[in-house]
Symmetry: D2
Subunit: 304 residues, 4 copies
């Protein structure tokens, strides 16, 4: 099929390549002329046969909203916009409505795959009406991994795909934290001499074998005690949205929430909350300065 692709960063660029490898004709547009196939969004749209399908792969939020709005002006009845970025699921309904007013269809699609996607395929979770999804199905088929899994039409409403991808990322946070906590405990004790070998052994026959485990084993091969790294982790919006959606729906989510909070903490130079703890402890016990006689000495009573 013919498809327009807006946004040719690391991710979009690889997706263009995988689509072309799959035999599709891609007209890519990016502000950066070094990677763009055309000079403008208008030129991209003009180059597509009708009904036109345009895949948007730009940052979530304002950039996506703006691109969708511009495409709404350029496209017409029967055309289709796919938002393949990391948009919040609540953005999709607004985008779908805006386009719908002009007869343009909308499909949202969460994409997983990172740097591995070009070779191995991208996992795709999309949302939208059957007829709209059908228009872009050939591109989905080229982008997805070979085999039965890796693609789902999660729901007919706008946002279903991004919602599914969001939950995927929430699960991912907690799985990563699970391995991380286990690793920290093994490192903190001296019973297990060879922690990397232990993780490596888990790749076969165990309940916890997974692709994330494979990645961690790779990392430990290069850097046994991870001394080259600092314990700092960004979070994409999707972890936050997952917990906020859980709260909206009264779903208890202790584990994913704790994984998210661990990332927040990792980025603090000093914890304000723990300053408040220290302040209270100082008030009731003079904790910061307690110096005691050696033995036969002191048992302080009220400490916490």
């Amino acid at each position: 099929m013919d498809i327009g692709l807006v946004g040719l960063g690391k991710m979009g660029n690889n997706m263009r390549q995988r689509l072309r490898n799959g035999g599709h004709t891609v007209v890519g547009y990016d502000r950066n002329p070094d990677v763009s196939d055309v000079d403008s969004l208008q030129a991209m749209v003009a180059a597509l046969p009708s009904p036109k399908v345009v895949w948007v792969m730009v940052p979530a939020g304002d950039p996506t909203r703006q691109t969708v709005a511009e495409l709404g002006d350029l496209l017409g009845e029967g055309d289709l916009v796919v938002d393949g970025g990391n948009s919040k699921y609540t953005d999709d309904e607004a985008n779908a409505e805006l386009l719908s007013a002009k007869g343009v269809g909308f499909v949202d699609c969460g994409v997983s795959g990172g740097v591995w996607g070009l070779d191995n395929g991208y996992a795709l979770m999309c949302g939208g009406p059957d007829a709209e999804v059908a228009k872009v199905q050939p591109a989905f088929d080229a982008l997805k991994p070979e085999g039965e899994s890796g693609f789902v039409h999660a729901g007919k409403k706008a946002g279903a795909g991004h919602f599914a991808k969001m939950v995927h990322n929430g699960i991912e946070y907690a799985m990563m934290q699970a391995y991380a906590e286990g690793w920290e405990l093994l490192e903190a004790t001296d019973l297990v001499d060879d922690v990397p070998a232990t993780f490596d052994s888990w790749r076969s026959g165990t309940v916890i074998r997974s692709w994330l485990l494979d990645l961690l084993v790779n990392a430990l091969e290069d850097d046994t005690h991870l001394e080259k790294l600092s314990g700092y982790a960004d979070d994409s919006g999707e972890g936050r949205w997952t917990v906020q959606a859980a709260i909206d729906h009264a779903v208890p989510m202790n584990v994913i929430a704790a994984s998210l909070f661990a990332r927040f903490t990792s980025r603090q130079e000093d914890s304000p909350a723990m300053k408040a703890i220290a302040a209270m402890r100082n008030q009731f016990g003079g904790h910061a300065v307690h110096t005691e006689p050696p033995a036969g000495g002191d048992a302080h009573g009220s400490l916490g």
Copy 2:
């Protein structure tokens, strides 16, 4: 090699089979004469050539301690006992010392595999001196899955193997909870129409693909909304020991601990803690009985 195997329940029975499939000579003993190869522990020991190797596969705690003590009386210089059960790592040192006094070696081995182990192999994590591990290596090689992974000599101290297995189980708790929380959120909302298909799609190309995911997809195939199950989960001791070990070593472990607590909660008919919450709320707000005029009505101020 020749090996004695004490404990022929579901797990031990399958392991005997896999060892025999691997060409080893197993003398199995169990209290249950229907499955036992010999009439007594003495008979089992007598049937083994020296140096004798006996694998103990009985429940952790008193049964294992008792079996090890009996073997200490029956075995001698150069013989070896392997504890392949789910013993707490702190038990291993005592067992090793008891046997050491009689010249008998000791290796502890955590075993993962369950009902899949017979066909696919068991993941093995062992601890003990190199020379002792070497004595039982042929059995390890037969029990483990084919390929490079699935076996580790985690450390030279008694307990290293069970400690590694314990941490494995702690990680497992949190990974399961991660999928479970994600599933609950998808079920709680109406954006995603086909939750099982969504989970199935994640098996390829995503960051969260794993064996546990495969299992959950299998379960959802049979029972789309898991209506045949109740939300009740036992816990083996290993989850508890993991968190207690973390506390002993001042390792923060929010995610694994929360996964353990979720299992505790799942087994409570009613939560005592939440009764206390209800009691306090009743005291300050008359929450249990608040009946308000319809609209233009009431804004209660201090509720929590």
Copy 3:
């Protein structure tokens, strides 16, 4: 001062009384004619001298928004609306703007006090410009408890008062959960014979003495093991908003979030997440049906 008061439910009714006890002239309006001083909002506004001050005490969300909009049509330059309900802080900015367009001022005020407020005073946290707060200060002074504490002009922006009250409620959730968890542990063990007496003893000399502790002691006097209560706890919106605000600002909030999630869990007849856990356990171990030979029996290996 003269003040209009919209909403005469349990809370509003008591506040009218406390304002009158403080020497103020209150014109109360409620849809329910049995408690209302006037027949309509118009009549209430007409009865007030200029500049008119109206305190809104109706449920958060649509009822408050609608009342504020109606007052915007009835009031004019120099008048003031106070929202004393449990509005979300993000609602206040919109209400302030809507009124500002008509020259009407706006102050938001979080109110704590419940059934104890009439006699002991209400804790008040307000937000808005100094000049607007000054107009209603006499009413604040009458409503607040005697003494120095109990009132704060938290910030000049609309929403500052409700935000402060929201955080207050978040803290409250976690304090209640702290006592509740401690109580559950004491009840779960048999070392402490007299749990109510233990809690009562903590009311003096300890680090954890508080008004909430007093309430819990009261409750335990009537019902030693809280057998008359079920472990079910609603949550007002404020706990949810607190955690969502924390996520928006990347503030780790494990304790308040866990307290909120405990309330969600308390209202579930069966936990969907734990069904998923049970489903996975069934898949890898046949956990639901494991029946083992008594001793010398089985050590299952891979359980989680």
Copy 4:
């Protein structure tokens, strides 16, 4: 009454003073001759009339165990030892048995009060047989705060007092964390201009008023943003024991556990767990180095 007091550190010294203020005759012994009333434990015992009562106030663990053992050699039938230190409740049974073999009674007593105890009294939670508690009741009455609360005979078994005190400290951890998280959120946003005034206002009329709140308000008076403190908090053993006891009894304890883990985290220069998170993120997305074209740029897909 006459009482021996072993351990005259900051806490023991103040307790001696309060006992004397209450009219009791205290013979204090400490290794440090500057504060000791006598030259040796023997001299202290010799100075007491029979039946002799000795209060031990030395650090928990070995120092307490050793002191109890020495007293067992010096005391006899009908005498009594009180352990008022921070011993783990499981130590008490052993100490009670050791003394019981010599006819010496044992009472364990958790003491709360810190630097405030001398003037305001110490909260006391004790365990032991009625007859033994009666022997030391006059000292308890002098040490406790005036009024009805502040003392409890929590249970007849050895350890009941220390267990009650331990749970008290667990509750304390979570209450402190509750205020701390709320404070961090208020500081992180710009809606509330005067955070100290907000906390101060909560001291009256609110659900969350408490002595800990008073302490935090005091601290904020001196140091508005707590800039003089670092976010570092030690933990006494009692928080750890509380969570470990909860795990032993299958009591869910998310909030107290999270408070404990927050203290562990506060003492880490860098988080090992978060290094593992960073390692996995690097593997699947090259997160550490992602540099993207400005707009029209990139939507990365699989990030977590």
